[in-house]
Amino acid sequence: MENTPAVQINHLVKEFRSPFRKTKVRAVDDVSLTIMPGEVYGLIGPNGSGKSTTMKALLGLLAPTAGSCHVFGKNSLKTDSRQETGFLPENPYFYKHLNGEETLRFYAKLCGMRGKEVNQRVDEMLELVSLQGARKRRIGAYSKGMLQRIGLAQALIHEPRLLILDEPTAGVDPVGSREIRDLIVQLKERGVTVFLCSHLLEQVQEVCDHVGIIFNGKIVKAGSLDDLIAIEDQTEILVKNASDRTLARIKAVIADAENTEFIHMGKPRTTLERLFLDEAKKSDAASTTMTDQKGDHHA
C-alpha cells in the first residue's frame, strides 16, 4: 500500500485582492487536509466557503498565497501533477461545435494519448457513462445530465488515480444523480481516489468515507464519516420477516439489560429517492417493450 497521500494540502492560504479597494479577502485560510489513495473524500460547506478555491489550488489553476498542495507527491503548480488528475468543474461547458466522441478524443490527445489507445479509451468511457447513443450528437444539443456525464468521461479519459469533482450532482435529476453516485462507488472499488465537494449533504453522506467541513475558508471539522456521524451511544438493528413474538422477545432482552434503553421500533421508511427510481425503472421497462429506436435520451 502506498504511503504517498493522494492529496496533501498543507496550510493552504489564498488571498484575493480586490482591484480598487485595497482590501484583501481570504478565501482559504490555513486549510490542511490529507487524502490517502482509495478514499472518497467529501468537502462540504456553504456557497462561498472556499471549496472551489481549494480545488483550483490543487489543480494549479491558481497559485497559493502561502502553503502548498501536492498530488501523489508532485507539487500542484507543476504540469506533471495533473497527469494523475481528472477534474470535472461545476456547470461545465464543452466546445459546442464538437460532438461527444470528438470531445473525448480531443481531451485524450491533450493528455498525450495516440492512435488506437485513443479509440479504445473513448469507446470505454462512452460505455462507462452510457452515452454511446449520443456520441455523434453535438455537445450543444446535450442535456444537463448528459453534460455531466460527458464531463466525467473526459475527466477519466486518461485513467487518473485522483478524480476531483466540483458539485457533481448539482442540478442533475434523480436518475442521473443516482448514476453518478453509483459510478463514484464503482471507481472507488477500482482504487481511484475521489475528492468531491458538494452542498447536497445527504449524497455526500452516502458516498464518501471521509469528510471535511469548511466554513469561511477554515476547516472546522474533518475525519472519517463513520467516526463523525455515528451517534456513539446508539445502535441500529434492522430485521426482516420478524414475527410479533420475535419482536416481543427482543424487546424483553433489551428491557433486561443494564443501562440499555429502548428507543424506537417500527417500520423503516424508504426514501423518496428510492421510490422515484423504482418508478423510473418500471416506466423505462414499459417503454422498451414498445418500439424504441432513439430512446437514449435519459434526462
Binding site: Q83, G86, H97, Y107, H158
Partner: protein, 303 residues
C-alpha cells in the same frame, strides 16, 4: 507515468487543429464567397479609357491584383486580430479553459496551439484566395498578351519592342514576386495574431483586445517615420519630449511599413530573395517575442 515535456509539438498541434476546426465551424469561410464575388466583379471591370495608353494592359492587371490583394490583406488582418482576441475569453467564459488546463497541458502549449490554429486558418484562407486569384489572373494575362500581339502585328512593331511589351505585361501577371507579396500579407497577419494573443492575456474582454490591437496596428505605420527621424534626422532644436517620444515609438512598436512591399508586388516590382527572407526572419522574431511575452503573462494567470 508519461513525462510531460515543457513544450510538446504534438500537443500544440492537437490544440491548433482543434482551434482551426472551431473557427471553421463558426462558418467563417462564408466570407470566401464574398471574396469570390468581389474577384469576379473586378476581373470583368473594363478600364473606362477613352485614351488607350501603351500600358493599358498592365493597368488592368494592376487593378485586378490590387482589388484581390487588398481584400486578402484586409481579411487576413481582421481574422488575425478578431479570431485571436476571441479565443481565450471564450474559453474562460465557457469554462472549457478549466477542463483543458486541468489536464497535463503546459500553458505555453495552450497559447501556441491557439496561435497556430488562427495562423492555419489565415494560411488556408490565403491559399484558397490565392488560387482563385491565380486562375483569374492567368487567363486575363493570356488574353491581354494575345491582344497585344495582334496590336503589334497591326502596327508593325520591331521584335524588340514587342518582346519588351510582352515581358512588361507578363511581369504584371502571375509571378513569384506576386507570391512574395502574398507571403508578406501572411507575415503581417502573423505579427498581428501574436500581438493580439499578447494583449488578450492581459484583458479578458474581446472588444478591448481588438481595439488595442487596431490602435497598435496604426501606430506601427508611423514607426518607420519615427525611426527615420531618430536615426537620420539632423535637425536640432527639437523638444526633448518629442525626441523621446519618437525614440520609444521606434523601439517598441513593430514597423508595419516594411510589409508595404505588398503594394510593390501589386505593381509588378521584383522582390529579391534576400529581402523576402529577411522580412521572414524579422516576422519570426516579432511573433516569437510576442508569444514569449504572452506566455510570461499567461503562466501566472489565475482562474
Amino acid at each position: 507515468m508519461r513525462r510531460n515535456a515543457f513544450f510538446s509539438p504534438a500537443r500544440i498541434l492537437v490544440i491548433a487543429t482543434h482551434t482551426f476546426t472551431h473557427l471553421v465551424r463558426m462558418k467563417v469561410f462564408y466570407f470566401l464567397g464574398v471574396f469570390a464575388i468581389l474577384m469576379l466583379a473586378a476581373s470583368s471591370f473594363e478600364m473606362p479609357w477613352s485614351r488607350t495608353t501603351e500600358d493599358t494592359a498592365e493597368q488592368e492587371l494592376i487593378i485586378l491584383k490590387s482589388t484581390a490583394m487588398g481584400a486578402m490583406s484586409m481579411f487576413s488582418i481582421l481574422f488575425a486580430i478578431a479570431a485571436t482576441a476571441l479565443l481565450i475569453p471564450r474559453d474562460l467564459e465557457d469554462r472549457t479553459l478549466y477542463t483543458i488546463l486541468s489536464k497535463p497541458v503546459p500553458r505555453l502549449d495552450y497559447l501556441l496551439g491557439k496561435l497556430f490554429g488562427v495562423l492555419i486558418l489565415v494560411g488556408v484562407s490565403l491559399l484558397l484566395m490565392n488560387a482563385l486569384l491565380g486562375v483569374i489572373l492567368h487567363f486575363r494575362t493570356e488574353e491581354l498578351l494575345a491582344t497585344e500581339m495582334l496590336r503589334a502585328q497591326a502596327h508593325g512593331w520591331p521584335q524588340e519592342h514587342l518582346d519588351a511589351r510582352l515581358a512588361s505585361i507578363s511581369q504584371q501577371g502571375l509571378t513569384w514576386d506576386l507570391q512574395a507579396g502574398i507571403g508578406a500579407i501572411f507575415f503581417k497577419a502573423m505579427v498581428m495574431a501574436s500581438l493580439s494573443l499578447l494583449i488578450s492575456t492581459f484583458s479578458s474582454s474581446t472588444l478591448f483586445t481588438i481595439v488595442i490591437a487596431v490602435v497598435i496596428y496604426f501606430i506601427g505605420h508611423f514607426t518607420a517615420d519615427a525611426r527615420e527621424y531618430w536615426l537620420h534626422s539632423q535637425k536640432g532644436g527639437v523638444s526633448k519630449e518629442l525626441r523621446m517620444l519618437t525614440q520609444s515609438i521606434a523601439l517598441i512598436f513593430p514597423d508595419f511599413q516594411l510589409y508595404n512591399i505588398i503594394d510593390a508586388t501589386i505593381e509588378g516590382k521584383k522582390v529579391a530573395g534576400g529581402i523576402f527572407s529577411r522580412l521572414a526572419t524579422l516576422t519570426l522574431f516579432y511573433s516569437g517575442i510576442y508569444s514569449v511575452l504572452a506566455w510570461f503573462t499567461f503562466r501566472k494567470k489565475e482562474f
